[in-house]
Amino acid sequence: MAVVTRTAASRTSVLAPLAGLVLLLILAAVTTPGFYSPEVLRLVLFQIGVIGVAALGQTFVLLLGGIDLSISGMVSLTSVVLAMYTAGSDDRLVVGILLCIGAGILVGLLNAGLVVLRNVPPFVATFASFVLIQGVIIAWTRGAPSGRIPRGLAWLGGGRILEIPVPLILFAALALIAGIVLGRTTAGRRVYASGLNPDAARLSGIRVGLVAAVCYVIASLSGVIAGLINAGFIGFVDAALVRDLDLNSIAAAVIGGIALTGGKGRIWQTVIGVVLLAVLLTWLIQLGAGGGAQLVVSGAVILLAVWLQSRRFPLPSIRRATPEKGMQ
């Protein structure tokens, strides 16, 4: 009987973000008739791409029971590195991107080192990294980053293939890869095992530290990719860029059902969370809601998601952390 109750609760919990999305889409249709116009839908798809890429990286860290508050810092750093190195020249674009990737790996390793080797709480470690990145940017550029983003990158932020924004296509491809890795490979199962119970995972022979390092590097690299998308989108160094990206990436994963406590959740849940958040943000602007109202509604939705999680309705994936059944 208890099993039946738990299964029903699990379904409810898994279906909650989907139900929320459907409800939101209906609300949008009723309150803003123009919401389903091609222009607005393209905006939603673009938002899904940008938030989604960061949320994918965040998901890897959340599954470990960690959190990464330095992703938005990586977005800014990517923009600055690219502009300062390339000075707008397409000839330097490839090396510029490689430098950004190198910076992403460094920051990811720094985060992992602090968390794994020094046992610094992830919240503190990654926030310190964020501050460090901001400091490096200011010290390097003296607050006035110069240079432009190469035009060759514009397609990544503003391009379309068959009217579908390139960022969305990139997000979909990355989500597919992440889903396969987490759900169908031994490496993915090690991530879940490390997040669920690090001690047990260690005793079973999993190198938890290495798993954590890879996850933090993935999160930082997701910041680099999001940074490249944003840089291509606007074509300028934007020092004020993406203050909200960390919050949005965490919110999207949590709304979808990724547990903040680690080891629970699947990539498709993050995808649903991303879609829901992107629809919500676009709908609020379409409604003409001011900045305060947008923050209130976004915050309330996140609170609701966390509250639903706190009711301890287990997700199916929690109970199926075995190689036979997979995670995806």
């Binding site: 905006l43 607050g143 110069s146 606007i234 602007i285 305060g292 923050l295 209130v296 509250w307």
Partner: protein, 402 residues
């Protein structure tokens, strides 16, 4: 059964927590969007000295902006500008032969902050005064500590670039300690006791942009307001002044108010939404050139004409708008006004009367005159036109040597 009995109180507690959290969020959001008064700049003078002449200098800035924007009238908001009797503050250097002036700066966290403090230091070198420096990194809480630290070094005078009203108490304490404080590029309530305020007037910018837009659309049409950040005084003052001006025109409908975070990326996303939601939009009031860049890009990519738009004069904006038929009105909030802040502090120490409110009259222009202000030899983040010495701009890497 036992599980149920435990689950219900748990769920109820969760609901209560959620309700409390949501209520708190609503209250916080309401507070954050509350507009702060724009006309309460400081003034240390109790008797208005030389009121007529002082008042006329104040009105000059409004008139020159009106002329630049081709406005028949731009009514200055009521302000009482007076001279401050400097005899109270006249003093010899407290240590040695050189005056020591404290600078509680914003910090070099953007090009404005960088130029502000570098221009100050440059001018201090010219005048032969020592500078005691502290950076707030754009944060009012940090600045509270900065002012205390600087005051503890007993400088001859202090120049503060205010990061928020939260520092008023520390400014008052410094003044009570006998340090003349000059506010620079921002305002604080009169209770702060600051001796003089040197700034570009937010009300002027907000009103002038709005009046120019009203002029462009003949007092009728849909207008969107793009502000920087909700709850930030520098943004709210301008918006409040703009709304007051628009309210004079019955035919103008403010259809939406959005925030760009002074980021072209965010502004572009917001503008894409505007295009979809308000295809009949007639003009966009923006407080920022960075925000206006995003707007131009969004309209160009949609293949639509850019509505008349306002903002501050960023070199990047002029470069973006170059070759388009965009109508725009720009003005400046020049960071190099910090040099005048230093002059004001020095005047006080030398016993020369100063104004309690020195409202900077800086250039304003429209698309018709934009060509002469573009600086192709300088970085896009430069605020133009600039009166910063060329050698300083080159040494900061903002311009190339000619």
């Amino acid at each position: 059964m036992t599980q149920h009995a435990h689950a219900r109180p748990h769920a109820r507690k969760g609901l209560i927590a959620l309700a409390v959290g949501a209520t708190a969020a609503v209250i916080l959001a309401a507070c954050s969007t509350e507009q702060e008064g724009g006309g309460n700049a400081t003034g240390g003078a109790t008797d208005c000295i030389n009121a007529e002449e002082a008042q006329s200098t104040y009105e000059e800035a409004w008139q020159s902006t009106a002329d630049a924007f081709g406005l028949d009238q731009l009514e200055p908001v009521a302000e009482e500008v007076c001279e401050v009797d400097a005899s109270e503050w006249q003093a010899e250097p407290k240590q040695g032969d050189t005056y020591r002036i404290a600078l509680a700066a914003q910090g070099p966290n953007n090009s404005w902050g960088l130029i502000s403090e570098e221009a100050f230091n440059y001018h201090a070198d010219e005048l032969g005064v020592d500078v005691l420096y502290a950076s707030a990194n754009g944060d009012a809480t940090t600045q509270v500590d900065n002012i205390q630290q600087l005051a503890s070094q007993d400088p001859d005078a202090m120049v503060v670039v205010p990061m928020g009203e939260g520092i008023s108490g520390q400014v008052k304490a410094a003044v009570d300690q006998g340090i003349p404080v000059v506010l620079c590029s921002g305002i604080l309530p009169e209770s702060s006791g600051a001796v003089s305020t040197v700034t570009r007037q937010y009300d002027l910018l907000g009103s002038a942009y709005a009046e120019w837009i009203a002029n462009q659309i003949d007092g009728e049409g849909q207008v969107a307001i793009l502000s920087g950040l909700a709850g930030v005084p520098t943004a709210e003052y301008q918006v409040a002044a703009a709304k007051e001006t628009f309210a004079k025109y019955d035919g103008i409908d403010i259809v939406t108010e959005q925030f760009t975070e002074w980021s072209p990326t965010v502004a572009k996303t917001v503008a894409q939404n505007l295009i979809a939601s308000y295809p009949e939009l007639d003009a966009i009031w923006s407080d920022s050139g960075y925000g206006a860049i995003g707007v131009i890009q969004a309209y160009q990519e949609a293949g639509l004409p850019v509505p008349p738009i306002t903002g501050d004069a960023i070199n990047d904006f002029l470069l973006t708008a170059e070759g388009t038929d965009t109508r725009f009105a720009l003005s400046t909030f020049p960071p190099e006004m910090s040099m005048e802040c230093l002059d004001t502090a020095m005047s006080l120490l030398q016993g020369e009367n100063v104004l309690n409110k020195v409202y900077i009259d800086s250039p304003s222009f429209t698309n018709e005159d934009a060509e002469q202000y573009v600086r192709r030899d300088c970085d896009g983040s430069l605020l133009v036109p600039t009166s910063v010495p060329e050698d300083l701009l080159v040494s900061l890497g903002l311009c190339t040597a000619s």
